[in-house]
């Protein structure tokens, strides 16, 4: 946040083509850096402090003189999924060994110190409760308070550093939490096990992870706005409403001239941004946005043939629920792990329980429209795969590596599915690859601390 405010919009880059990525609220790759020698730290989850060294990673020979930027000249078509097993460098030859070395060097993002100072494994913690609430917004607080009033033991885990960040940023009045509720702030719940009766939460720093055994689970994780499916949608300066509101709350100048696009609720976001002093140039339905202009960052937008100059594009819709945790709680299968009916003790609450909004796609399969920018997967690649007969979501995932990066499938599989249904026809119902935990929620050290906390199934 501090870097973005200081004018550093391109904090990171995509894996294959090294295109610039920034603080988007959607694509985690854009906020990963090497902080104090530790690779792959999320800049949006660490507090800036004096003396902290944040280095751009995935650069060579140095972040300042980064020759890897030359990969931007490589056509997207050349590095589509599967490019690495090209017949030009078959295994069994000497040139394959060089090719593989090059691939491994380029794919590895951050540099790890092979001999770090010794760090003790932190013993994990264990909580047992009647109800676990994931999400610290108004719906999560209400669910926790309701259960606490009936005498049940409640744990509430939120990734926010305090409760109701989003609602506060929107200027809403927030109900205080019942003092009997155990609140875990800055904790990510990344994995659910055994039908949603065991959850693993870990703090964003290197504190101990917690296993929460719960009789009931309420997912009040809200919805997130999905980036528009247009060319330039991953440029630094395109961000979701949540991120824009958080930036604006820390100083209205960081956003510059701002265009808001979105679905029905976009006017509320625009009004709030304006109230915080943001220079709002326009507010449009997302379907009117045809392209984002710029090379290193946003410089404008094409809306229905009209060119709008702006430095930030804030999307407020379509809003969709991240399905990962509900999938983990309900999924089952032997041949394939597929979404099942969540067990009776798992409920969605608040905005998360509302129907998802459809993702708008123009039908133009462009190489500049990103589906999964962290892995350089474009709309053109997905569309060509579907046209070539690969329509199974699991095969699309394996073929393109879409969703194999730091977000592990949200929002990119929502975008992938919009293109899949758009090309292949409406018969391709909303289906998705298996969502897996713990998707970066805990480190090896934190997970290691859990080995004495839970018994294997015997």
């Amino acid at each position: 946040m501090a870097l973005h405010r200081a004018g550093e919009r391109a904090l990171s880059c995509t894996r294959k083509r090294h295109r610039p990525l920034g603080l988007s609220g959607s694509f985690i790759q854009g906020v990963m850096a090497r902080v104090d020698g530790v690779p792959n730290v999320r800049l949006d989850q660490c507090q800036a402090r004096p003396g902290m060294v944040a280095e751009r990673q995935n650069s060579w020979p140095s972040p300042r003189a980064d020759l890897l930027k030359l990969f931007r000249l490589v056509p997207a078509r050349w590095v589509r999924g599967g490019f690495e097993h090209t017949r030009l460098f078959p295994s069994g030859t000497r040139r394959f060994l060089w090719w593989e070395r090059l691939l491994a060097f380029l794919a590895g993002e951050g540099r790890l110190d092979p001999a770090p100072p010794p760090s003790a494994i932190q013993p994990g913690r264990h909580h047992a409760c009647d109800l676990l609430v994931v999400g610290g917004g108004p719906a999560g607080i209400a669910a926790a308070n309701h259960a606490a009033k009936t005498g049940r033991t409640v744990v509430l885990a939120t990734r926010g550093e305090r409760l109701a960040r989003g609602a506060t940023a929107m200027g809403e009045i927030v109900t205080p939490i019942d003092p009997s509720v155990t609140v875990l702030t800055s904790h990510e719940v990344g994995a659910l096990y055994r039908g949603g009766t065991l959850a693993v939460a870990a703090p964003h720093d290197d504190g101990p992870a917690t296993v929460i055994a719960c009789a009931q689970l309420t997912l009040a994780t809200g919805k997130r706005s999905l980036p528009p499916l247009v060319p330039g949608n991953a440029l630094p300066g395109v961000m979701d409403a949540t991120t824009a509101l958080a930036l604006a709350a820390r100083g209205s100048k960081a956003l510059g001239p701002t265009l808001v696009v979105g679905t029905d609720a976009r006017d509320r976001v625009a009004t709030r941004l304006r109230a915080q002093g943001v220079d709002l140039v326009d507010c449009r339905p997302v379907a009117e946005l045809k392209a984002v202009r710029g090379s290193k960052g946003v410089t404008g937008a094409d809306c229905n043939g009209e060119r709008i100059a702006c430095a930030s594009i804030v999307h407020a819709g379509p809003w969709r629920t991240d399905p990962n945790l509900a999938f983990q709680a309900g999924s089952a299968g032997e041949l394939r792990l597929a979404a099942g009916e969540p067990a009776a003790q798992v409920t969605l609450a608040g905005f998360a329980a509302a129907p998802d909004e459809a993702v708008h796609w123009s039908g133009i399969a462009d190489e500049a429209t990103d589906i999964c920018p962290c892995m350089d997967v474009t709309a053109a690649e997905i569309a060509d795969l579907v046209r070539g007969g690969i329509t199974h979501v699991e095969e699309l995932k394996r073929q393109s590596a879409c969703g194999m990066g730091p977000c592990q499938g949200f929002p990119c599989w929502e975008l992938m599915n919009a293109v899949r249904a758009g090309v292949g026809g409406p018969h391709l119902a909303a289906d998705r690859p298996s969502h897996r935990g713990p998707r970066r929620a805990l480190t090896v050290a934190q997970a290691a601390g859990l080995s004495d906390v839970v018994e294997p199934l015997r």
Binding site: R15, R101, L112, P116, S119, H392, E395, L442, P456
Partner: protein
């Protein structure tokens, strides 16, 4: 004209199909109930080694390791097999003694195996914590191959030779007449066949039941996980038999591996927290630099466990035209050899000596294969 039906489009089924077609067999159909790369062939650790603790395993897998080295040329596709070396590391005196006994066996089978001191292990893998390491076997021609490359190569090569491979086609019935299989049913379609091969991974027991035979063993899950990508930090494919743990770093920078926990066998693709914690613990203790890395994802795959963890390869003793390549726990590594030798056995009635110890009826005869260097938890 009826031909050969193979049930299972994983790496075993595809390797058999490719080798049959290469030897001139026509009319080969591969039927798979799931999706391409959906089974254990797309979920395993992708480690490949030729040397094990027993002569039976070593002779089969040494052959496979050699086939892997040339597999890209054989298939005309890039399988990305990378002979980075395979380290079997001892952390207990008992394991060290076992490894010391294995080196000569490995060399006798033509493998480039050497015994390393702890200092040599540290020199090869600077990320390792030397404390507690007693030594290792270094199989210099072992390595890894990513399954996405290997599976696509087998599928493309098989199809190029005219094999029909279909996914989403579960077999619902198997017909027999006079002690021979004559057809399989998939949906409404009846497919007549002269030869049937079951290579259905964890589901081989169920498929065998359709043919009215009892395939020994049972399905169970095995789990693995991937850490976020970093610049190259691990060179070799690594097994830690004392920790029931294995890992390697992929060409995508991720560190992929797993540790087994003793659990009641689970028939599900769900993963569990116990395996996550055990894997992380082994990593953090043996490779301290990995402790700060985040875990991207964890998954489970199903395998077909047998009493001795060895595969069941060969003709079924009761049905003369039914063949099996099942019961695999190191099936990814073993697939090139199994496909090569089984195809020859089927077409030329020439059962290679390397397959004989893994006969389907060996438990019935009281002749299991004893193998002491595999990374799998004991089950009751």
């Amino acid at each position: 004209m009826s031909g050969i039906v193979i049930i299972g489009g994983g790496i075993q089924g595809l390797s058999i199909a490719f080798n049959l077609a290469r030897l001139g067999a026509g009319n080969i159909r591969v039927l798979d109930a799931g999706y391409f790369q959906g089974g254990a062939s797309g979920r395993n650790g992708t480690l490949i080694r030729g040397g094990f603790g027993s002569p039976e395993w070593t002779s089969l897998f040494a052959h496979s390791n050699r086939l892997w080295a040339d597999l890209s040329a054989t298939l005309g596709e890039n399988v990305m097999f990378t002979p980075r070396g395979y380290l079997i590391i001892a952390q207990s005196p008992a394991m060290m003694a076992r490894l010391e006994g294995m080196v000569s066996l490995h060399r006798a089978h033509g493998l480039d195996a050497v015994l390393l001191t702890p200092a040599e292990v540290k020199a090869l893998e600077p990320a390792i914590a030397a404390a507690g390491i007693l030594g290792a076997i270094h199989l210099r021609d072992g390595g890894v191959a990513p399954h996405h490359a290997a599976m696509k190569a087998y599928l493309a090569a098989s199809r190029r030779l005219g094999v029909t491979v279909e996914y989403g086609r579960p077999v619902t019935a198997i017909e027999q007449v006079g002690g021979l299989i004559c057809a399989v049913m998939t949906g409404d379609e009846r497919i007549a066949c002269e030869t049937l091969v079951i290579a259905a991974g964890a589901y081989s027991v169920d498929v065998g039941a359709l043919a009215g035979i009892e395939v020994p063993g049972f399905p169970m899950r095995i789990e693995a996980m991937a850490l976020e990508p970093v610049r190259p930090i691990l060179r070799s494919a690594i097994a830690l038999p004392d920790r029931l743990c294995y890992l390697h770093q992929t060409a995508r920078g991720e560190i992929v591996g797993g540790a087994e926990v003793a659990e009641r066998p689970q028939v599900t693709l769900r993963s569990d927290i116990a395996a996550l914690a055990a894997t992380a613990r082994a990593y953090a203790e043996v490779f301290p630099c990995l402790a700060s890395l985040r875990i991207l994802r964890q998954w489970a795959g199903m395998l077909h466990a047998t009493q001795d963890w060895g595969p069941l390869i060969g003709r079924h003793p009761d049905l003369a035209n039914l063949w099996l390549s099942a019961g695999w726990s190191y099936g990814f590594a073993g697939a090139p050899a199994a496909g090569d030798l089984l195809a020859r056995a089927i077409l030329r009635d020439d059962l290679d000596a390397r397959l004989k110890p893994f006969a389907v009826d060996r438990f019935r005869r009281g002749a299991p294969v004893r193998e002491g260097s595999i990374v799998l938890a004991p089950v009751e």
